[in-house]
Each structure stands twice: as structure tokens, then as C-alpha cells.
């Protein structure tokens, strides 16, 4: 039984077969030694790009199908029935399965707030949505392992719940632009009318949409990963981001926060960093900083909240990410 799981895990998730095929291609097709610098980078690039696109297509399809049952209107209704910490936890969980990209953060924020959901709940949702999704769990399990994947999800959800709760405690309702509260609430919901065929078509459409949106980020991410993997001297990376350097987590955060990329583009960079002996916490911090906060989403949010609330939001999430980095670095031996 255990052997079967290991085999499935290696072949389906880690795609050992693909790695072997690419090794053959690099050695016999290109006539390069896969262990050499050039051969190694080419192997890393081809293998990672194909693996990420296969996983991305399968995962987005499955997740979009589930998502078609949870349009934002329904999420809002479910959340409106709860209160307190339970509502925060539920918001963080629903954030993982609700369709989301930074372009929809404003409509969601306005829709939730005008319907009377507390800021605490809305922010738990806003933090969890880009940070944790089901696809990222499987990808983390594929690139690292299951314990790291589960730990990432758990701390991501904890960050969302605590961050939201903290923002709620600060009573910053007056920091939301007034027009938000005056927006009408439409409870139009198509859910009952959607057929199975439409859900499948929606899922297929999402795969195309997302692949179209992220392919460049994936190529750039894998390219940077391949460069880190084979070309940038380990001494340089470890001097900047090494496990024994106290500032490594801070550097990773500072670089990651303004950047805008998808988790699919960030993972190969994190993968290459960890292989170069960068602390696991530092690599995860970088990933979280890139996905949870970005300049475009801040510029959008600025239209609906006043600067103080925006600053508090950025501050809390950044502090949380840094803390998570240090905790993971201190406990990395439990996961690898």
C-alpha cells in the first residue's frame, strides 16, 4: 500500500517519467550531459515548464469545476450567516475556492462591505484568496513534499484569520470610502440555472484564460529558477539569502512584496532557491510576499479604502509573512 502511494506520488505528482524523458532528450537529442551546467539548466527548464503546464491544466480544470458552485454571491450569503471567529475561518477557507484574481478584488470588496459583512471577514477573505488555493497545495506537494504543502496551507489560513481579526479589532470602518457603503446589493444568482455542460465549459474556459494569463510568468519564473539552479554561484546566493543570515527573510520579503506574479511562476524560483541551500522559510516567504501583496492590487484597493487602512493591511500581511519565514527557517528540519 505504502509502495503504491510512493509510486503514484513519484510518477503522477513529481512526474519522474517526465524527468527521465527530458534526461534522454538532453543527452541523446541535444548531445549534452544532463549533469553539466548547460545540460542541467536545459533539463530544469524543459522539465519544469512541461510539468507546471500539465499540473496547471489539470488542477485549474478540477478547481474551476468546484468553483462554479461557489460564485461570490453565494460566498457572501454563506458568510453573512456567521459571526465572530467562525466567520473569519470560513472566509479564509472560502477564499481558497472562490474564483479570484487581483482584478476582482474591488468588486468583491465593495460587494461584501455594502452587504454588511464586517471588515474582519472581508479581509480574511482578501488575504486568503490569492495566497492559498487548492492548485498551490498540489504544486507544492509536487515540487517539495506533502508536509511542506500542508504546512504552507495551514499557516496561510492562520495568517488570513489572524490578519482579518486584527483589522476588525482596529475598528477602521471609517477608513472605507463612503460610496462603498452606498453601493446597492444585488443578490442575483445564476446558480440554479447552470447545467453540467456549462460548468465543464466554464472549467475548460478557466484553464484557457489562466494559461493565457500566466504562461509568460511561468516561463520567466522557470528561467530565473534555471539560472539560479546552474549559473548563479551558490556562494553569492548564500551570502544574500543563506540560512544563517538573519536578514535573508527580510530581503526575500522586500523583493517579493511589490512584485506581481502568479504562484505558478513563483514556485520554480522557490524550488531553485531551496536547492541552493536557501532556508525553506526564506523561500516560502518570497512566494507568499509575491502572491499575497503586489503593487497592482494595492493601487486597486486604494480606490476603495483610505490610506490608513491600506497601510494597516499591508503592514499586517507583511509582518505575518516575515514571522512565518522565521518560524519555518527555525523548524525546517521537521519538513525536509
Amino acid at each position: 500500500m505504502g509502495d503504491v502511494f510512493v509510486w503514484l506520488n513519484d510518477q503522477l505528482l513529481r512526474m519522474q517519467w517526465l524527468s527521465d524523458l527530458v534526461t534522454l532528450l538532453v543527452r541523446d537529442g541535444f548531445g549534452l550531459d544532463p549533469a553539466s551546467q548547460i545540460g542541467g539548466s536545459i533539463h530544469f527548464f524543459i522539465y519544469d515548464v512541461i510539468k507546471i503546464f500539465i499540473l496547471l491544466s489539470v488542477l485549474i480544470f478540477a478547481i474551476s469545476y468546484v468553483q462554479s458552485y461557489f460564485p461570490p454571491e453565494r460566498t457572501r450569503r454563506i458568510l453573512g450567516q456567521r459571526s465572530g471567529l467562525g466567520a473569519n475561518i470560513l472566509a479564509a477557507l472560502l477564499g481558497t475556492i472562490t474564483p479570484f484574481c487581483s482584478c476582482s478584488s474591488i468588486p468583491l470588496f465593495i460587494g461584501f462591505t455594502s452587504a454588511g459583512l464586517p471588515l474582519a471577514v472581508t479581509f480574511s477573505f482578501l488575504i486568503s484568496s490569492p495566497l492559498v488555493d487548492l492548485a498551490s497545495v498540489i504544486l507544492l506537494a509536487s515540487i517539495f513534499n506533502w508536509s511542506i504543502a500542508l504546512a504552507y496551507v495551514t499557516i496561510g489560513l492562520v495568517l488570513a484569520v489572524l490578519g482579518g481579526t486584527l483589522i476588525g479589532r482596529l475598528k477602521m470602518e471609517d477608513q472605507v470610502e463612503a460610496f462603498v457603503y452606498q453601493s446597492p446589493v444585488s443578490d442575483h444568482d445564476n446558480d440554479g440555472a447552470i447545467s453540467l455542460r456549462e460548468r465543464l465549459a466554464f472549467a475548460a474556459g478557466q484553464v484557457m484564460d489562466i494559461a493565457h494569463r500566466v504562461w509568460l510568468y511561468v516561463l520567466i519564473g522557470v528561467g530565473i529558477g534555471a539560472a539560479i539552479h546552474n549559473w548563479i554561484p551558490e556562494a553569492f546566493i548564500s551570502a544574500l539569502l543563506g540560512q544563517d543570515k538573519w536578514w535573508s527573510v527580510l530581503v526575500a520579503t522586500l523583493v517579493g512584496v511589490p512584485m506581481y506574479a502568479d504562484i505558478f511562476g513563483t514556485l520554480p524560483i522557490a524550488e531553485a532557491l531551496v536547492q541552493k541551500c536557501v532556508g525553506l522559510g526564506t523561500a516560502l516567504t518570497f512566494m507568499m510576499a509575491v502572491t499575497a501583496l503586489s503593487l497592482p492590487s494595492m493601487i486597486m484597493l486604494k480606490r476603495v479604502v483610505k490610506p490608513r487602512l491600506l497601510a494597516v493591511f499591508i503592514g499586517i500581511v507583511t509582518a505575518g509573512i516575515i514571522l512565518i519565514g522565521y518560524i519555518f527557517n527555525a523548524t525546517a528540519h521537521l519538513f525536509v
Partner: protein
């Protein structure tokens, strides 16, 4: 009659606009189709998932690309 397509310019919004045009032609209705692309304006209709369809200031669909015949049905109910 005024028809509004809510959406920040994604492919689906364009498709919904095309279907609405076809539906109007089929029903021989002369109506104006307006595209609302500003996110704050879209939120002004209380809509969270785009594309959205608004007929005479009433939200009739969100988050889906309706087919021309579905839109035709909605037009008839007006």
C-alpha cells in the same frame, strides 16, 4: 430599451456583447448596447462577478456568458 454589458474588457464580456447584439437583431428590437468597463461603476450595480447583463437598469445576469437565445428570452419578459 438600454442594454448594458458590465465587464472590464475580458473576452467573455465581448462574447456577451456579441450575443446581445444577435438577440436584439433576432427579436427586431432597436436598443442601445453600452459597455461599462470601470470597476467602480460595475460595483455600482452590486455585481461581483463579470460579465454582467443589465436591461433597463436591472441586473439580469452575472458571471456568465448568456447565449443569444437566453438573452432573447429575457428580452421577451420585459
Amino acid at each position: 430599451m438600454i442594454i448594458k454589458i458590465l465587464g472590464s474588457g475580458c473576452k467573455k464580456c465581448v462574447a456577451l456583447g456579441e450575443n446581445a447584439k444577435t438577440a436584439l437583431q433576432a427579436a427586431a428590437i432597436d436598443a442601445e448596447i453600452e459597455k461599462i468597463t470601470d470597476v467602480v461603476a460595475i460595483s455600482g450595480y452590486g455585481v461581483m462577478s463579470t460579465p454582467g447583463l443589465v436591461i433597463d437598469e436591472k441586473v439580469v445576469s452575472t458571471g456568465r456568458v448568456l447565449s443569444a437565445s437566453e438573452i432573447g428570452g429575457l428580452l421577451k419578459n420585459k
